[in-house]
């Protein structure tokens, strides 16, 4: 009996924890919602967004790899030159697993267990290799560990490279696409997840508007409404869906006016925590109907696309193009789960202990922590993540050879992604992966068409970019921006246009993440339909930038003068 009550209480607790969770992860949820929205727009035929989806999938796979590298380097201060071994082991494990002719049926993994479970098995393989690497940390510290890991990785690489009959050799080994990825129900499962995330996104907006009583909140919501409705108009097939979504946003604005009126007329009631009084209309009825209307609108916008996709599966299950959105969804879901897991891990007492060990090992040991075990656990977890990314990469690439999945270049790349994004900043490695992978793929076009130079110069351009990033952003993109914007944020909070309060709080910055990813991805599709939306988003950001420049003009002039003077003095001093 008491057990039931306890269960009920726990359920209640976890449900009532949802709003807090939504409010704490505004940027991530907004970006995730947009990323989940993207593949819904692919129709059965060819769509301009498919190439982009393919690219984003690659970025996310390497983002997982960079995240696992950052878990070692940024959290546990373990520089690992053999990180690629964890990746390659996962990739080859997946390649053997998906090969239906390798073993007779009882030992054939893909026939025996479902595909998601093989991913878990790949994680276990990566984790056990991480455990082996971790065993060496009892004696190897610093560079010695980096190099023993390099020895393990090179050993594996040479072993696979010199046995072409097991690794495919130079020509590579074909990896079959798992059958589950081709099935319709698997796709529908991810579509359902996408709608859950989108519902969470609308819930986040509602929670945001109920707390944000200044006019800034209204502006933010209107901007998001215009951007999202425009995107839906371009993506979707019907006009009814976007209309319903904009109606939902109008409901949000209505909620804003109601809350604002009640705040102004009865300031005491505004603070729910103190009085404990909640108005059922604004707390439950309106929000849920808004979410319902919004989801209905989204379903209406994309229903024909989804039906097309499922019909395609019914007609012919062997089509290759069909796998792209499902792979994308699979990788995105893995990335999201890993992200939240790693963030939870870092915030946990264990994560604090790892940080303590990384900062000063002797002190942590003197305080009674077992540094050896902490390092092993970090290596196992990070090995599991790297193994997962390898296991996702093998079917994505379809042909793997020792060089692409076990070569030293992969380690160097993972290191570059992490360093460019910012070490120890959870989102930094993913962002760095995006920057580097995208510029690797498109720098050639830019150099040949944009600058009229020979295309071989692209690696030179990449090197110059690294050097500039190092010289001007020593902490990586996220790290350096976070360091520099501290004072800027304080100024933005007190921003005023005439008598009009326009202060930006910490809770408002999610809109920049959403608009940034929205504008970037729509811009990269290079489709004529999105020009208007892209122009609108970038125009809004540009206007905001100009306003900022105008408000901060004195500080900027002062800063430029100061840095100029400083640099002249330091030259003379040297």
């Amino acid at each position: 009996m008491s057990n039931d009550i306890e269960k009920e209480g726990r359920l209640k607790g976890s449900i009532s924890g949802i709003p807090t969770f939504l409010s704490n992860n505004r940027t991530v949820i907004a970006v995730l919602a947009f990323l989940y929205l993207l593949p819904l727009s692919t129709t059965a035929g060819t769509s301009p967004i498919r190439t982009l989806l393919y690219l984003v999938t690659q970025i996310m796979i390497f983002g997982l790899l960079a995240m696992s590298f950052d878990l070692q380097l940024g959290r546990a201060a373990l520089l690992n030159f053999g990180h690629v071994a964890l990746f390659g082991v996962g990739a080859y494990f997946m390649a053997y697993t998906l090969d239906a002719d390798l073993f007779p049926p009882p030992f054939n993994l893909i026939a025996a267990v479902p595909y998601p479970l093989t991913l878990v098995l790949a994680m276990m393989i990566g984790g056990s290799l991480g455990f082996i690497m971790g065993l060496t940390t009892s004696r190897m510290r610093g560079t010695a560990f980096a190099f023993i890991a390099l020895a393990i990785a090179m050993f594996l690489y040479n072993f696979f490279a010199e046995n072409p009959d097991i690794s495919g050799g130079e020509t590579g080994m074909r990896v079959a696409t798992p059958d589950l990825i081709r099935t319709g129900p698997f796709y529908l499962l991810f579509v359902a997840i996408a709608f859950v995330v989108l519902a969470a996104f609308f819930g986040m907006i509602i929670l945001y508007i109920r707390k944000r009583m200044e006019y800034t909140g209204l502006i933010v919501v209107i901007v998001v409404m215009v951007g999202l409705t425009g995107t839906l108009l371009a993506f979707g097939t019907g006009i009814l869906g976007p209309v319903l979504v904009s109606l939902a946003f109008l409901g949000v604005i209505f909620l804003f006016w109601m809350e604002r009126k009640s705040t102004v007329s009865d300031p005491l009631r505004y603070s729910e925590v103190e009085t404990g009084v909640t108005d059922p209309l604004t707390a439950y009825a309106i929000p849920f109907s808004i979410i319902l209307v919004a989801i209905l609108g989204l379903v209406l916008s994309f229903s024909s696309n989804i039906t097309d996709m499922v019909m395609l599966w019914v007609e012919d299950t062997q089509l290759f193009l069909y796998t792209i959105p499902v792979t994308y969804y699979l990788v995105l879901t893995c990335l999201a789960i890993t992200y939240f897991f790693v963030r939870r891990l870092i915030a946990s007492p264990f994560g604090r202990m790892v940080t303590a060990v990384a900062q000063n090992e002797e002190r942590a040991e003197a305080l009674g922590y077992n540094s050896y075990r902490a390092k092993i656990v970090v290596l196992v977890i990070s090995g599991a993540i790297a193994g997962l990314s390898g296991a996702l990469y093998a079917p994505y690439l379809r042909v793997i050879d020792p060089h692409t999945v076990l070569g030293v270049e992969v380690t160097i790349n993972a290191m570059l992604y992490t360093i460019i994004g910012g070490i120890g900043t959870l989102l930094g490695p993913i962002l760095g992966t995006g920057v580097v992978v995208y510029s690797e793929l498109n720098l050639v076009d830019f150099i040949t068409e944009g600058l009229g130079l020979p295309g071989q110069l692209w690696l030179v351009g990449l090197g110059v970019m690294y050097i500039f990033i190092v010289l001007f952003m020593p902490l990586g993109i996220v790290g350096s921006i976070g360091q520099k914007t501290g004072s800027l944020k304080a100024k933005l909070r007190r921003m005023k246009l005439g008598r009009f309060e326009f202060g930006l709080k910490d809770s408002d910055y999610w809109v920049f993440g959403l608009l940034g990813i929205m504008g970037l991805i729509l811009f990269l599709t290079e489709d004529a339909r999105f020009v208007l939306v892209t122009l609108g988003i970038f125009g809004f950001l540009a206007i905001l930038g100009v306003v900022l420049l105008w408000i901060l003009r004195r500080d900027i002039i002062m800063g430029v003068k100061k840095s100029f003077r400083n640099s002249r003095f330091s030259r003379g001093g040297n």
């Binding site: 380097l73 030159f81 060496t136 009892s138 004696r139 190897m140 510290r141 610093g142 560079t143 010695a144 190099f147 023993i148 390099l150 020895a151 393990i152 090179m154 050993f155 040479n158 072993f159 490279a161 010199e162 009674g368 922590y369 077992n370 050896y372 075990r373 030293v408 270049e409 160097i412 290191m415 570059l416 360093i419 460019i420 070490i423 020979p454 071989q456 110069l457 692209w458 690696l459 030179v460 990449l462 090197g463 110059v464 970019m465 690294y466 050097i467 990033i469 190092v470 010289l471 020593p474």
Partner: protein
Amino acid sequence: MQRINFTIQDYLEENPQIRRITRYVVFIAFIVLTGLAIYYAIEIYTWNGFIVGVSKSLVNGLALSMLLFLMVSGFFLIFGLCDVINFAHGAFFMLGGFLGFVLYIATEAVFLDPALPFYLIFGSNYFVLSIAAFTVSALGATAIMALIGGGIEFFTIRRLYGNPIAQILLTVGFMFIITQVAEIFFGPSQFSYFIIPNSQITYFFISGALDFGGGMIFSSYRIFLIFLGFTVAGLMFLGFRRTRIGLQIQAGIEDSEMVEALGTNIRRLFTIVFMLGAGLAGLSGAVLVPWIGANSGHGLTYLIYAFVIVVVGGAHYGRFEGTFFGALIVGLSMQFAAYFVPFLESVIVFIIMAIILIIRPGGLTGHE
């Protein structure tokens, strides 16, 4: 809290007798295993073949070790003194090879030009011509690489001391730039002196061979490489023992703050070390071209050998001799494995490194 991890090291330190016995047992086992390996090698290859194989791999291994030592000593100095893991070092080596190649062709063209006075000396004697041109090309490559290395240190790395992660990124950037520039100028294919039809270098450097009879034919160029390597290594040892800058560098590797406190301009020392390291990489690249050719892919391959050798020799607070012995171990084991156990050729280096690191975590001469 009790320490949970039980290490053999702790146990051996508590029981010195067992430690002594284990040492003897390991020594005897090593000798027995070596004897067995030699016995089976003689069984398989016959006595004569065994002798030929051993002497050939000894010569090749020594030549390779000396060249690797020249390259890696620069890497070691930069790592030891400045604490910079120089990812661009393999690229320096590769670029040195290309520079040596180009300089050789240019010098030869100048020497053979009838309008210039050099023609009077070298026009009739091709042997002297090729040696002189080769010397000029090696020294020229050294000088140019020293300038490039010093420039890189002076303009960029100098700003980033104390930030090891940013240094890695920076040197990786330079590695990409140098590799790609070399590839743009020379293309991705392998360069060797064979492809220049009228070049005189083949007379001595490539086709020349010493025959001791019984199948023992050694390329004279590799023997020359051994002598060159020992000469440069000896000069460097002398320099580190006798000259003021050498002593300062050695002291700086041990404790750079103390050296700075004693009044040495350590920044200037860093620049000198970078110039020395890059110059040595250029020299080894230039003299290795007649053997392995010049290829833009060499950078990464030899960078990994440099990593291995430095770690085997003792990376942190290690001594210069450690790098020398590390290079010997790596070069000899690679060539012996290539002759006797070909399937282990590319793996053996890493096996040896793992064994040495497990026995002595700090490498041969360093400490943790």
